[in-house]
């Protein structure tokens, strides 16, 4: 039974991943990230993602506060933040976020305040979406790991 559950979870995960790939939320770099995870660093992906979320939240807050400063928006600073955000997003393979960052950066370069606000909104939305989806993915992953762990003795018994 548990083995079957693990398979189902695999399928779920793949479906979710496929969906995210299809939607363009993620790209192959996300998979490459997974390849980097091996016995020597079993929780590499989740570590990286945790750092990513932590950093991103900070960056988002900074961006928001910079933009909210109505009189004096420091676009250069925003561009630097966005570069960071973009770099980390592309590293984990969050493609849509990268794209939004690009648009955001273009808006900052033109000092286009409404554009920036819109982009920030989109960025937040995408970020939340990604975070939710990845959390979902991780939950499945954990369940699968549990299931797989539960399965090993069975295999050994056979």
């Amino acid at each position: 039974m548990l083995g079957l559950g693990a398979d189902l979870l695999w399928a779920d995960m793949n479906r979710l991943l496929g969906f995210l790939f299809h939607q363009g939320v993620l790209d192959e770099h996300f998979l490459q990230l997974h390849h980097l995870q091996d016995e020597s660093s079993p929780s590499f992906v989740s570590e990286v993602l945790n750092i990513y979320f932590h950093e991103s939240e900070k960056l988002l807050n900074n961006l928001r506060s910079l933009l909210m400063d109505r009189d004096f928006s420091d676009y250069n600073k925003m561009a630097i933040h966005l570069n960071q955000f973009m770099g980390s997003s592309s590293s984990i393979g969050a493609k849509r976020l990268t794209t939004v960052c690009l648009a955001f950066r273009a808006a900052t370069q033109h000092s286009n305040r409404p554009g920036c606000l819109r982009a920030l909104e989109m960025l937040q939305h995408e970020y939340c979406y990604l975070k939710n989806k990845l959390h979902e993915l991780f939950q499945i992953e954990q369940q699968r790991a549990l299931a797989a762990a539960a399965r090993y003795p069975l295999q050994n018994n056979q």
């Binding site: 192959e28 980097l36 590499f44 950093e55 960071q84 973009m86 770099g87 980390s88 592309s90």
Partner: protein
């Protein structure tokens, strides 16, 4: 008529004025603009309003403006500009209207002036005419009057003073008749004597008739011919009488008529005797003639009176009255007839004694001009006043002259004005057009850039996932798959590779379009590249049974500097095309120096068409470079006449015996996306941009590409390319160059002699070329017999014999004979050169020992070397260079290395560290450039450093520069210490960047980096970069 003349003249003058006007206007215009532009430059555009001044619409300003407003003001300036333009236009229109109105005013005032002048002149002439007439009339009248006065003296002298009188009626009549010419104005003269009532009876008796009264006479003036004196009544009793006693013949009827009885005459007579001067009557109808006339009366006195005598004395002294009848009408008429221009002038004479009612004396009622002139006439009678009125018969004519000149002037002025206006208008229009076109051009350029960018982006975006797909497929291949699955995966991989190469082509095209294509300049070995390309196509050519050969001239230096990748791309493309369309025969790549080829043109003008690699006829190679510019320049050697320079001019031709290119398609073969026939792409695939890319690449190598193609015979593509000589000293010669190829193990075969038996010289030449690369001396013969004689009799010991399959197969008995005979002496190794494995009929050969070794073409030096080594037992030293899988070798390379990763972004840092750790490296991470500098102090503990370029505070370039400075100082110290470990003094630094476009290779190299890798890592790129620093152990 004259109006037309004037207009024509106006047109001519307008035409003449046109050019200078245009010049002046444009000159003013430019000056105006320049001044304003200068002002704008000086003011550094700080003031918007200045712009309004400056935009007098020349494109320099506009272009400059384009750059300017994009940065600063956006559309505001543009709006100003257009606003000002329209403002200017309406201003011009107003000016035009004002101009027209001004000229209308000018010309009408001129018209008025001229016509008034004409009227004045007319008036003057009338005045002079009138005065002249009046004077003449007056003079003539005075002459007559004087004569009559003289006559009165005559009468007083000869009638009254003599007794008996010397004059009777008859004498008087005769005298007056004969002196009538003296009085041209009088129609008759009569003398009336003063008779008192007391003397009447005596007088009547003496004369024999009674005094008659005049009244009745006056009442019926119309009776002319049947006029009878007897009908007149005798005069009533009066105080005194004045009966006419003498009369001229013309007025004889008035004799005996009492002048005093007529009312007018009586007045006259009374006034005459009182004044003693000539007195005139008012005009009246004359008796008998019924014409208007006046009577002039003079009194005749008894004695000479003093001039101051009183009227009474005069009356007392009166003896009689002399009257002259003036026929005014005929008189004036006669006078006028003597004068010129009598037709044009109407003359009226009035008696204006009574001002309120002037009496017309002469003149008709004909209506003339309303303007008239009045001259007074003085007939010597102060009591009577006369006037002469003159007017022109015709109305004043239209002032044509004034009309013509003013209209002509207006026409000319308006024409000139219109020309100017039209010029200015046209200038505006062309300016507008210009602006519009600039706008369109800008848009088109933007669209072009966008297109290229789109292509580049999209291609890049497609390439990234494709790499993923290919990588995954690669990995999939390594897993445990059954045969079918493997087949599927291979197919998928093939398609994927095809797609990637297609995308690469499109990307190349886009790069070329946007001018971003840059050629490398690295040292490369041309022959090795050709070997690679040959290998690439050998499978295909063998499958088709097409012979593939490469020949590189000995003159071509071993090492060239240029872009090997692009060169290879051109060759690959041309060969790919050839192999696509060739089903039989051969594909032959030759590379020469241009100088050689040019000389060969001179030496051998014609070669036999049969002399080709496979025996099939080919298109004449020389015709393919006919169009090259460099060849046609100044003589046959043209621009290639300087062999001593460092530049190497290569001419490469790819010759095939394929279907050829249809003549109608030959002209557009280098056009992108153009194929001979849509069906071709279905049959053979490809996008059709390969040739266009090749052309661009050749152009970038300062070369030219051309081709000649004959349908069903074949095509030959030829291109030239300029490289730099990479060999340190090309004069050293061939042997040196050969020795530079360690991997071919050429030294093993040094001094070996070989014999090539081949009937076709070109093919033999190709074989010799490859053998010579292995430092084998080669003899060529055309058939087995010659070969045999050479082997048995030759001086040099021939240890290897290459026999072309064709020769071998021709006659097995001869072949056998050859084998047997060669065996007698020191048996050389036999090799058979075959085109493809399948076509060689091994069965036909006697399977004796030694069985000739079969070498499958295409020949390649490396392959030949291996075969020879194997066959001849030269030590096999495992020369094969198996290229390991990148990831494996990466692990190999990186294992145990200490690597520093510098990145401010913790996520990137973690990922990079993870990736490097995976390959076995020992990774340390820092998060800023400063930390990196502190970690990287020579002597280094790290083997390499991966540095992010974009970092806050200190970016990658800056950090690298500082590290390099430190290293430099350290190396100076080390050289002083003289025991420095040099390998620890310079750490390789690789840039990491997410944006490849942003950090070009040059920038990295400039700041002292050794290369760059893209983020996230890609295994192959990483391998390529890393392998440059870590020698494979």
């Amino acid at each position: 008529m004259s109006l037309i003349h004037v207009v024509g003249f106006g047109l001519k003058v307008g035409h003449l004025l046109w050019v200078p006007c245009c010049l002046i206007v444009s000159f003013i215009y430019l000056n105006w603009f320049n001044c304003n532009l200068g002002i704008n430059h000086n003011h550094n555009c700080s003031n918007n309003n200045k712009w309004k001044m400056g935009f007098l619409g020349d494109y320099d300003g506009k272009v400059w403006l384009n750059n300017w407003w994009e940065k600063n003001l956006g559309n505001t300036c543009k709006q100003y500009y257009y606003k000002y333009n329209s403002l200017r236009r309406s201003w011009w229109r107003k000016l035009w209207h004002a101009y027209v109105v001004f000229w209308i005013v000018i010309s009408s005032s001129r018209f008025l002036h001229m016509s008034s002048e004409a009227t004045e002149k007319r008036k003057e002439s009338l005045v002079s005419l009138c005065d002249e007439r009046a004077r003449m009339l007056q003079d003539q009248f005075n002459v007559s009057m004087n004569h009559i006065q003289a006559m009165s003296i005559l009468i007083s002298t000869f009638h009254h003073a003599m007794d008996p009188s010397a004059i009777d009626q008859k004498t008087f009549a005769r005298y007056t008749e004969r002196t009538a010419f003296e009085r041209p104005l009088t129609s008759g003269v009569a003398y009336a004597v003063r008779v008192l009532h007391s003397e009447r009876e005596q007088f009547e008796k003496q004369q024999g008739w009674t005094i008659k009264r005049m009244d009745t006479l006056e009442q019926n003036p119309v009776q002319e011919d049947d006029f009878a004196l007897e009908a007149l009544e005798p005069s009533p009793i009066q105080e005194e009488y004045a009966p006419v006693i003498f009369a001229q013949e013309t007025i004889k009827h008035v004799i005996s008529v009492d002048v005093l009885s007529g009312k007018e005459d009586r007045q006259n007579v009374l006034r005459a005797r009182e004044s003693g001067k000539g007195v005139l009557t008012a005009p009246f109808r004359l008796l008998k003639t019924n014409r208007l006339g006046v009577i002039l009366t003079f009194a005749v006195y008894k004695k000479e009176l003093p001039s101051n005598a009183t009227p009474d004395e005069r009356i007392q002294a009166t003896d009689g009255y002399l009257g002259g009848v003036f026929d005014i009408e005929s008189l004036v008429e006669k006078l006028l007839q003597q004068l010129a221009s009598k037709q044009s002038v109407i003359v009226n004479v009035y008696d204006t004694t009574n001002h309120t009612d002037p009496i017309a004396m002469y003149g008709s009622d004909v209506l003339g001009d309303e303007f008239y002139h009045v001259s007074t006439l003085n007939f010597g009678d102060p009591f009577r006043k006369h006037e002469m009125h003159c007017r022109f018969k015709q109305k004043p004519p239209w002032p044509w002259e004034a009309i013509h000149s003013s209209v002509g002037m207006l026409v000319i002025a308006v024409l000139i004005g219109y020309i100017l206006y039209a010029t200015v208008n046209r200038m505006f229009i062309s300016e507008d057009n210009y602006n519009e076109q600039m706008e369109l051009k800008k848009r088109a350029q933007a669209a072009d850039v966008a297109k290229s960018q789109f292509l580049a982006t999209v291609s890049h975006e497609i390439r990234t996932p494709m790499n993923g797909v290919l990588g995954m497929l690669n990995m999939l291949m390594d897993t445990d798959l059954d045969v079918t699955q493997q087949e599927y995966v291979r197919t998928a991989q093939g398609s994927g590779k095809a797609l990637v190469s297609l995308i690469n082509e499109v990307l190349d095209q886009a790069k070329i379009d946007s001018g971003k294509l840059e050629l490398e300049a690295v040292v490369f070995d041309l022959r090795a590249i050709l070997d690679d390309v040959l290998l690439l196509f050998s499978e295909k050519s063998q499958g088709k049974g097409v012979e593939l050969a490469v020949y590189v001239s000995d003159e071509v230096p071993e090492q060239l500097i240029g872009d090997p990748g692009r060169f290879r791309q051109i060759i690959t493309n041309l060969m790919g095309n050839s192999i696509k369309f060739t089903e039989k025969g051969h594909i032959f790549v030759t590379i020469h120096l241009v100088e050689e080829v040019v000389h060969s043109i001179e030496v051998e003008p014609q070669s036999t068409s049969k002399d080709t690699l496979s025996g099939y006829p080919v298109a004449d190679i020389r015709r393919s470079w006919e169009g090259f510019k460099a060849f046609s320049q100044e003589g046959p050697l043209g621009s290639f006449s300087s062999p001593s320079s460092e530049l190497v001019n290569l001419i490469v031709s790819v010759e095939d015996t394929g279907v050829g290119i249809p003549l109608e398609a030959q002209s557009r073969i280098f056009t992108p996306f153009m194929q001979v026939d849509p069906s071709i792409s279905r049959k053979h695939g490809g996008t059709g941009i390969g040739l266009s890319i090749s052309k661009c690449l050749v152009g970038r190598m300062n070369g030219e590409i051309g081709f000649v193609s004959i349908p069903n015979i074949g095509s030959t593509f030829t291109f030239t390319a300029v490289f730099t000589n990479g060999s340190p000293n090309s004069k050293e010669g061939r042997s040196q160059q050969i020795n530079n190829q360690p991997h071919l193990a050429s030294s093993e075969f040094h001094g070996t002699n070989a014999l090539v038996i081949d009937p076709r010289p070109i093919r033999a030449k190709v074989s010799r070329y490859h053998l010579q690369r292995l430092d084998i001396r080669v003899e060529l013969v055309s058939d087995l017999d010659q070969g045999l004689s050479l082997i048995t009799n030759g001086n040099s010991a021939i240890s290897i014999v290459f026999i072309e399959q064709e020769v071998w197969d021709r006659d097995s008995s001869i072949s056998l004979h050859f084998v047997n005979n060669t065996r007698k002496v020191d048996p050389p190794k036999l090799f058979i050169l075959v085109n493809s494995n399948s076509s060689f009929r091994a069965s036909s050969v006697n399977s004796g020992d030694p069985f000739p070794v079969v070498i499958t073409k295409p020949l390649k030096a490396s392959m030949l070397a291996v075969t020879l080594q194997r066959a001849m037992g030269v030590g096999n030293r495992g020369n094969t260079r198996n290229v390991e899988l990148p990831s494996l070798s990466l692990q190999h390379l990186l294992r145990g290395r200490r690597i520093l990763v510098v990145d401010d972004n913790s996520v990137n840092r973690t990922v990079a560290a993870g990736a490097l750790k995976k390959y076995g490296a020992d990774v340390v991470c820092v998060s800023s450039g400063k930390d990196a500098i502190s970690k990287l102090k020579p002597p280094h503990q790290f083997d390499a450093c991966f540095m992010d370029i974009q970092m806050p505070e200190m970016d990658g370039f800056e950090a690298t520069r500082r590290i390099r400075e430190l290293e430099h100082m350290a190396s100076i110290e080390a050289s002083m210490d003289a025991d420095g470990n040099n390998s620890k003094l310079r750490v390789p630094i690789l840039a990491m960047t997410a944006d490849v476009m942003q950090a070009t290779n040059e920038e990295c190299l400039k700041s002292g980096m050794d290369g760059y890798v893209s983020k996230p890592f890609e295994a192959e790129q990483l391998y390529r970069e890393v392998s440059r620093f870590f020698p494979t152990s």
